[in-house]
Subunit: 696 residues, 2 copies
């Protein structure tokens, strides 16, 4: 506790702005490529070389969990360096890394355990000290991030790092119901979570589209409600142990009383409307809901929660509670009767009645409830945790009444936001900023959410990573760590490491494009890649709105919109280049040359792609976008020509280009052509009206 | 039998050159992207569309092996199309694919089973007929290769294919001893073998550097001779079943009496020289060899062969026999004494004595021997198979005496030859061409060999694939299928499919380069990639000769030479472009423009890469090669300038360039800069002496 408080003091009190904010160092471009960035970093001089003689010793408390973590560390160090094995070389003279740990993590990992560590890297060796196994494991991950190729070999820069998380609840939720996510895919994502120091895996196990966990008590839940795609209890135990080994708690979610059509396939008597029910194949909010007036429902839930509370050891148990549209309740006279007789004025009151009863069941079985905003109702027990999909205001409201909360609004990975936008969302932002320090402590952290309408094992990693690393930093690092350029630089490096760790967010892109291209010449394929590199899927929920036919779980996810990353690196860099060029009042010869090369490539790209569009319906779908990209290239070149002549493009030209740009900016094939905004800036500059004024 | 003979007749008798050679079709560039190319292809009209309603029915013989093959087929079809599942759509009106099989494959798959099939694709459906499960499985692989994205959806062109292999033994050997190869890596390579219709996995299980299979009888073999990297017998059985399911026999090799230092670590008494022995860490040929005069050795081998013959069900058992240097025999007076008393005139005779005895043991345990050339000694049983690492002459010699043989000379994947060079090697080439038809039948096929001095799980796939697909074609397809351009085109497509199947030959390239680069800007990384794309590792055994320090099994395989493919696609295409340009007597404006773009990129590349060379020792190693590439770019541009002016570059210029080129062509960092030869052609053309003469 004392070490933790001392470290927090360093950063929170602002004692040392210089050593808390990302700053210069031996690694790469003047900054350590760490993510999340540690609480305190003091650079030393020299570096520690990683050789095949590298070996590890432990002092203080040791346990099997830490031993396995050390073995994992060595395996990953081997992957990073391609040194086949460590510590077996005949020249081992002294121990390279000494880990000192004071105590074990709790047998069932708990919220709020000390996760701090101190890592000292010197040319002669590395020391890692931590009060708990959890801290030691985090320190090992930091050390892995420090090791990179250097001018004489693989090395970590000399540095002293004192680190502890800002928030104790740093989670990732994965919806395994809308699309089933196989166990190995979950495991590699848990590996990724460990690498960025997240500590809660929220397993969204049931939905209208699937009940994904074996119930021995009520086997029709998974047998009839999962298309035979579910986890056995043994598999769940395996995953829980896997996560625990990596310092990650597993919180299961059983969403109630809505979002559960799949339950009703086997147990229609639980629903508020007459059956029979089939597994839902579409996306959205649907009418079926549990019947809160049915006493048999509570008996059922009592037994199910008893079973699941035993399977999932974590203290927290998520009961969902979101998005009940109430239609089945309105249409059921028996329910209406019940509401009247129990003085329940509306559906919110009915849901509150249901929530209160379910919360009692959860408490009875020794657990504390987590639920979405809707479960926050007067009189709920104080150990409930509100997960806010609605926003910081609702979180602040709960905190002001003494309730714990975690933020998910702003961290929905499926909405396709830029990393910068997620990164700007802080659990202490908005209304939470006005809370008292005491109330602020009730905000435990946050969770990113991967809703799975449009993911499968092939593209799910690219929807989560690398952006999730920036959210992990938001939840771990000081609130003052907000530099976006630094974030992108470091995230880029972490992204490569996650790739080596086994995640497929980078690896799966090319094969998916190959499927779209079919047999293609290298030039044709390069043209597809050039186009794909600068588009992004439409944002928020626009994909449903723009769908030609209603998407379902049977829809192939084989289109360009499914293959491209949710954030285009190329477009982001291009946009930065344009901003820099314009900020230099268009007097940047090198920038101009680079822009010209880019525009020529784009202008000529459609002609190269056109043969493929003839052969592949998946390329044909983006033919208009390809033409738009060529138009962007031509417009950009024309703008540069005007600028080179001192600006003064005619208003008619500007109007024409702007009108064209508005067409180009419209989503097509559910894609956005990202460089359009930046090209518009050049068009404006060419017309001499503003941005290049100093020159013109 | 009759179907098979009939199909062979079609091609061998030359009845139908048009339908046997690769030819026009609906797929891509006028040719079906099949590899190995089938014996007979008759194009139909239209195409068969693959929808989610796709379903499969079986008639005739059915069995569990075929059921599993169909499930695998459907999974792969799902990967190729991203259609989540087949046959469950409500619109299933009729069966899409009907498989008719006459009979099962043998319970233990045998050499020479009928592997033929007939595949008829029409717009209304697909029929697959085969005399055995093996043929049906091959037909399914062909169908997978036919399906590609089309203008309206995923489809296979209408076609009738009658197919059967040219050779019954089409193998891949993997050396799992010099570097251990984990089971999952073997499995994905066996998946690849199935995709290209290879049918023998030759498992090189023991070597100086490791004894890799658990022996319950002699546990010190794997316990002391493997660094704890071995396969349990359960794992071996698992792999054998996995291979059998894919129509692939597993032939184990226990190399004797040399190449077995690792055996002697636990059992030094088997050796011809005094112990103790340690696991060998270096590469090469070493002195330790079994003592053929020791009766206890034969008792040991009797029991070991008994154990392994039971574990490995295949009829064939490989006893190695290669490369005994005889030094331990020469130095052992007891052995010299024995040779004298048994009238064994030299070491060859002693080895023949040993071989004869081991062959009797193998026969006693119900197996037939396979061995390298050296085991072919007078009087060996007729069911022995000679595997020739020495060449076709030695194979022809064996055949002329009535012995079976398979060719591996020319198919050593580790030597880094171009695919075209491997492809040109035919088991019936060289001396074998002069055999009588009866003798030719004794040549059963061939095996590609992956010796593992320089491979690990990260790069082994890229050493085997895609080149192995071309060797598979050589062993399956008609001898007349030799068009190199067609081969490269089809191999490129198959390579992408293998990637989707789970092989990592493409996927692992980028992460390996990332490790070399370390944290790098996109421009720096692109520069490294540009250089890496045009180099190849030195050929044959030059890597050992050029090594600064002796490589061992502890040497990290993290250098550019370990990361780049063994054949540079970019360099090959560049070379083709230069040849085309020069053949057009340098009057090819488009070609000239493309060459100029390429040269400018190369010329400017070193400046972009230079900062990385400062930061990474693995980039620094290729700094000279990078400068050489820039020099090539500059020389190429200068040559094009002369050519544009009608040639006539001064002799002094030509001499200077040629001298520079000779320096550039020298290996550096164990790499060859591949475009140098083609640039030299342009230098020659610029000097007006020849190639561009028609213009000048």
């Amino acid at each position: 506790m004392s070490a933790k408080h001392w470290i927090q003091a360093l950063c929170v009190v602002g004692l040392a702005v210089l050593i808390c904010a990302p700053r210069g160092g031996a690694q790469a471009a003047g900054q350590l490529n760490l993510m999340p960035y540690p609480a305190s970093v003091e650079m030393g001089s020299g570096e520690f070389r990683v050789e095949s003689s590298f070996s590890v010793a432990q002092t203080g408390h040791t346990d099997a969990q830490l031993d396995r973590a050390v073995q994992r560390f060595l395996r990953q160090l081997s992957r990073q360096t391609a040194i086949p094995s460590f510590g077996s070389a005949p020249t081992v003279s002294k121990v390279a890394l000494v880990i000192h740990t004071d105590a074990a993590s709790k047998e069932v990992q708990e919220l709020g355990e000390d996760e701090s560590y101190v890592l000292e890297v010197a040319s002669g060796g590395v020391k890692l000290n931590a009060p708990t196994t959890l801290g030691a494991m985090h320190g090992l991950q930091t050390l892995l991030q420090l090791v990179a190729v250097g001018s004489d070999g693989f090395a970590a820069p000399a540095v002293t790092i004192r680190d502890t998380p800002r928030f104790p609840w740093r989670g990732l939720m994965i919806d395994v119901s809308r699309h089933f996510v196989p166990l190995d895919v979950l495991k590699r994502n848990i590996d990724g979570m460990e690498a960025v120091k997240m500590n809660v895996f929220h397993w969204h196990l049931s939905e209208n589209q699937g009940f994904r966990i074996e119930s021995k008590k009520f086997p029709k839940l998974h047998e009839m409600g999962s298309d035979n795609m579910f986890y056995t209890q043994d598999e769940a135990r395996d995953l829980i142990a896997y996560a625990k080994d990596r310092g990650i708690r597993v919180v299961p979610e059983f969403d109630m009383p809505g979002h559960n059509t799949a339950w009703f396939v086997g147990y229609p008597e639980l629903a508020s409307g007459p059956g029979p029910y089939g597994i839902e194949r579409r996306w959205g909010i649907f009418d079926p809901a549990m019947d809160p007036t049915n006493e048999k429902l509570y008996k059922f839930l009592d037994e199910l929660i008893a079973e699941m509370a035993k399977l999932f050891p974590d203290h927290y148990f998520h009961i969902g509670g979101d998005e009940v549209n109430g239609k089945q309740w309105d249409a059921n006279p028996k329910i209406q009767e019940f509401m009247k007789s129990h003085n329940l004025k509306n559906n919110e009151a009915l849901q509150a009645y249901f929530s209160a009863r379910v919360q009692k069941l959860v408490t009875k079985h020794g657990k504390a409830v987590v639920g979405w905003d809707e479960v926050f109702i007067p009189g709920v027990p104080k150990d409930i945790v509100i997960q806010s999909w609605r926003g910081q205001a609702s979180l602040a409201q709960a905190a002001s009444q003494g309730y714990h909360g975690i933020l998910s609004n702003g961290y929905y990975l499926d909405l396709g936001w830029s990393t910068a936008r997620h990164y700007a969302v802080d659990p202490m932002g908005g209304a939470a900023a006005n809370l008292t320090p005491e109330q602020q402590k009730l905000i435990l952290g946050g969770e990113s959410c991967m809703w799975s309408e449009y993911v499968n094992p092939e593209n799910i990693d690219s929807r989560i990573w690398p952006r999730n690393a920036a959210i992990a930093e938001r939840l771990w690092s000081a609130q003052s760590v907000t530099d976006v350029a630094s974030m992108y630089t470091r995230m880029h490096v972490v992204s490569e490491r996650l790739d080596l760790l086994g995640l497929t967010h980078q690896k799966s892109y090319r094969p998916m494009l190959q499927r779209i291209a079919g047999p293609a010449s290298p030039e044709e394929f390069a043209a597809l890649r050039t186009l794909a590199d600068v588009v992004e899927p439409v944002k928020d929920y626009a994909r449903e709105q723009l769908a030609a036919t209603e998407p379902t779980s049977a829809t192939p996810l084989n289109r360009v919109v499914d293959a491209v990353p949710l954030e285009s690196d190329t477009a982001r860099r291009f946009s930065e280049l344009v901003d820099k060029f314009v900020a230099a009042t268009c007097h940047d010869a090198d920038g101009e040359a680079r822009l010209r090369r880019q525009f020529v490539l784009w202008r000529d790209n459609d002609a190269r792609l056109e043969p493929l569009a003839q052969r592949s319906f998946l390329v044909k779908e983006v033919a208009q976008t390809s033409q738009d990209l060529s138009a962007l290239g031509a417009a950009g070149l024309a703008a540069l020509d005007f600028i080179a002549k001192g600006g003064g493009a005619p208003n008619s030209w500007k109007a024409e280009q702007t009108a064209a740009m508005q067409q180009i900016q419209k989503p097509k094939a559910q894609l956005l052509l990202m460089p359009a905004d930046a090209v518009q800036k050049l068009v404006d500059a060419a017309a001499g009206g503003g941005t290049c004024a100093a020159k013109n």
